[in-house]
């Protein structure tokens, strides 16, 4: 009797697991971290350091210099999460429409460039940062829109087009920053003139330097709020509007969508433009919030590419992408923390890579699902 109940429970767990995409994502992350642990043990280090570093990137660490608890690592985690989530949204939005947007990196750079130009060329005025972000959003949308139009009108593969536009964006950034924007005072090949004060994103940290808690180090900028708003916008557009419905329908089956009267050409261009807009905001947030100087880009920041992983783990859903982005932010924050504990830094890259590989499990689970359905049919037939 008890055996039977157990069996039933077990079956339902597997069904639930197979049915829930969130559960798969969580399993994938856990698998990735387990694999990371094994690797750390293989190189003869204590994996405790790995967990401690990841833990600290959420709850902070003891500041030995000051003798206080500091929440700075959590601030770093959330700050890193801004571009991760936004680029994840960029990838996810296109993905829902059946497009593979590898161009978040390029859209991110073009957004950053637009914000940079706006912040350097226009004298400081209060609230300038808001316009910088809007300009960056538009620039990203144009950069993504180009790909959408190419795909919709001329059937040019978005993968090839976005990869090429990534490089064009990088060198365009360098060209404009080096030769068009006003020169810096020092180190001219590395930085342009400083960003206007009004363009910098204000911190939303709590500044307490007294007491047992050292919160002065906790830094987070308004970009975080823009990121949350973007998550909301993603969810609203996708799930609640007519546009979102036509986008999703195109993603499920383009031909069927067209036959039922949806303009799929329009849908693809719009989706790529919105997708680019998310990445554009990410570029502005990193430049105005984290870097805070007129940086001349030397090489790609890779936030756009990591966005692919974030969207995959988040299953291209708004909430999922938010959580996945914060997780990747924590891993990036742990990247430096674990080095202080003599854990090889490559472990983080390995974990991130493995998570992406394990995501392929989804396809494997589909096979299991199909097999189980078949078995069930057979059983019933019998």
């Amino acid at each position: 009797m008890s055996e039977k109940i157990k069996k039933e429970n077990k079956t339902s767990f597997i069904d639930w697991f197979l049915g829930s995409e969130a559960a798969t994502s969580v399993a994938v992350v856990i698998l990735g971290i387990i694999a990371g642990t094994i690797i750390v043990m293989c190189v003869g280090k204590n994996p405790g350091g790995l967990f401690k570093a990841i833990w600290q990137s959420f709850v902070g660490q003891y500041n030995r210099g000051l003798g206080k608890w500091s929440l700075a690592p959590l601030g770093n985690t959330l700050t890193y999460a801004i571009p991760y989530v936004l680029c994840g949204l960029s990838m996810g939005f296109a993905n829902r429409v059946g497009m593979f947007n590898i161009g978040a990196e390029g859209q991110y750079m073009v957004g950053m460039l637009a914000a940079h130009a706006f912040a350097v060329c226009i004298p400081s005025f209060p609230g300038q940062w808001f316009f910088c972000i809007i300009v960056a959003m538009l620039a990203g949308a144009v950069w993504g829109g180009i790909v959408g139009v190419l795909k919709a009108k001329f059937k040019i593969s978005e993968v090839v087009a976005t990869i090429m536009l990534n490089y064009i964006a990088l060198y365009l950034y360098r060209l404009i920053a080096l030769y068009v924007l006003p020169e810096g005072l020092i180190n001219k090949t590395y930085q342009t003139a400083p960003l206007a004060n009004g363009a910098l994103l204000q911190g939303i940290g709590i500044r307490i330097r007294e007491g047992a808690l050292q919160l002065g180090d906790f830094q987070l900028n308004i970009g975080f709020i823009f990121m949350l708003l973007s998550v909301l916008a993603f969810w609203y557009i996708m799930e609640k509007t007519k546009l979102g419905f036509s986008l999703r329908a195109t993603g499920f089956n383009k031909e069927a969508a067209r036959c039922s009267g949806i303009n799929d050409t329009n849908a693809i261009s719009t989706a790529m433009a919105i997708s680019g807009a998310f990445a554009g905001i990410a570029g502005a947030c990193v430049l105005l919030g984290s870097l805070r100087f007129g940086r001349i880009m030397q090489s790609q920041d890779n936030y756009g590419f990591m966005g692919i992983a974030v969207a995959l783990v988040g299953n291209s859903k708004a909430l999922g992408t938010l959580l996945a982005g914060i997780l990747f932010g924590a891993l990036k924050s742990a990247y430096s923390l674990m080095q202080f504990m003599s854990i090889p830094r490559e472990v983080v890259n390995i974990i991130e890579g493995l998570i992406v590989i394990f995501i392929a499990l989804r396809a494997g689970l589909e096979i299991v699902k199909a097999y189980r359905a078949k078995q069930l049919l057979k059983k019933e037939a019998r």
Partner: protein
């Protein structure tokens, strides 16, 4: 039941692995601490070296800074992770967070390398007045009491390798030799290398033809290789590249051509790159290297922390304190060249020769060398 047992066994196995590994780690740490106590009196100074993504395996700049730390502690690496450690970044927005993390660990000294750290280090030094921090190879930042900037006078070392290359050409009996310079991203720092090199060559061959090329990239060896091939084909005798990873391409091309019997040379930069140029037993395509003794800066800073002689500001690293020099590892570097370089060294030390560092000054002094791609900023 069987399944439960298997799972339990698995868990036990995994747990035991954990425990054993953990123990091993702490044993190691304990023994390391013990040997430190015996080996050196520097045990109470803790230092963190913060580098960009390449880390201390770059065979060049960061590696040298790390060697300086190792030389200071002189404990065969036993203190790694406890007394001294290296932290690398993933991207450009990591610099400040990494500095703050290091401050949270309570290190006595934080070392940053290269001008990419300039902005972040200066901002950090201002915000954390009690944390001692140095930056190597930068001298243009605002000054704070807790902040030392080590600036290298590379033009002096580059002058020496210029003399060496020119004397080698003379020794080989080459008439009207021409020379090349390959830089990374143009800027005042790299211009110092180029100008020193040019002046060194001109001191031997006043009418030598010299060309320069900037790859606009620190990590594109293929660009340097293509350029080096063109130049070597058109009769350039020796190329000096100060271009980070890009310079590897020059050495590669020189290796190929020397192997094929062509008499061309490459000159290394920062560290002695003799090993990188080896193409046959005991033969290297790297004639000499301009040495930038980054070790000196880290040792100097650590010594200042130890002796309590810390003083913020800019410290110059030049020939007088052994901060720059040249390598004599290659046996094919002729005696005449060595003698000439030693003479040049003495002349610089005595002040008889002053090596100019900006393109403007050099072009004013030697107008006949024509147009250069170098930028002063």
């Amino acid at each position: 039941m069987k399944k439960v047992l298997t799972v339990a066994l698995c868990v036990l196995l995994a747990a035991s692995l954990f425990v054993s590994c953990g123990k091993k780690g702490s044993d190691k740490a304990a023994s390391a601490k013990g040997s430190d106590k015996a080996a050196s009196a520097n045990e109470n100074i803790r230092v963190a070296l913060l580098t960009d993504a390449t880390g201390i395996d770059d065979k060049s700049f960061n590696a040298a800074a790390w060697r300086g730390i190792l030389a200071f502690y002189n404990d065969n690496g036993a203190g790694k992770g406890t007394l001294y450690t290296n932290i690398t970044t993933q991207s450009a927005d990591d610099y400040l967070p990494n500095l703050k993390n290091a401050a949270a660990q309570g290190y006595d000294l934080i070392i940053t390398t290269g001008f990419t750290w300039a902005e972040a280090s200066a901002a950090f030094a201002k915000d954390y007045p009690n944390q001692k921090i140095i930056i190597v190879d930068v001298g243009f930042l605002p000054q704070y009491d807790n902040f030392i900037q080590y600036e290298y006078e590379e033009q002096q070392g580059s002058y020496l390798v210029g003399v060496a290359a020119a004397m080698q050409a003379k020794n080989d009996g080459i008439e009207n030799p021409s020379f090349g310079f390959i830089g990374g991203v143009p800027g005042a720092t790299i211009t110092k290398f180029e100008m020193g090199y040019i002046q060194g060559i001109l001191s031997v061959f006043p009418n030598a033809s010299i060309r320069d090329y900037y790859a606009n990239n620190w990590g594109a060896p293929e660009l340097a290789k293509t350029q080096a091939k063109n130049w070597y084909d058109s009769g350039v005798y020796c190329i000096f590249s100060a271009a980070g990873g890009t310079g590897g391409g020059t050495i590669d091309q020189a290796k190929e051509y020397r192997k094929a019997g062509k008499n061309v040379w490459a000159i290394g930069v920062d560290s002695d790159q003799y090993e990188d140029g080896i193409y046959a037993e005991g033969k290297s395509a790297v004639l000499t290297s301009m040495l930038k003794v980054v070790e000196n800066s880290t040792i100097d800073a650590l010594t200042k922390v130890k002796n309590g002689t810390w003083k913020g500001g800019v410290v110059a690293q030049n020939m007088t304190n052994g901060g720059v020099g040249y390598a004599t590892t290659n046996a094919e570097l002729c005696d005449a060249a060595k003698a000439a370089v030693e003479q040049a060294k003495a002349d610089i030390l005595s002040g008889k020769v002053v090596v100019l560092k900006t393109a403007k000054e050099v072009l004013e002094k030697y107008p006949h060398i024509g147009r250069l791609n170098a930028i002063d900023d």
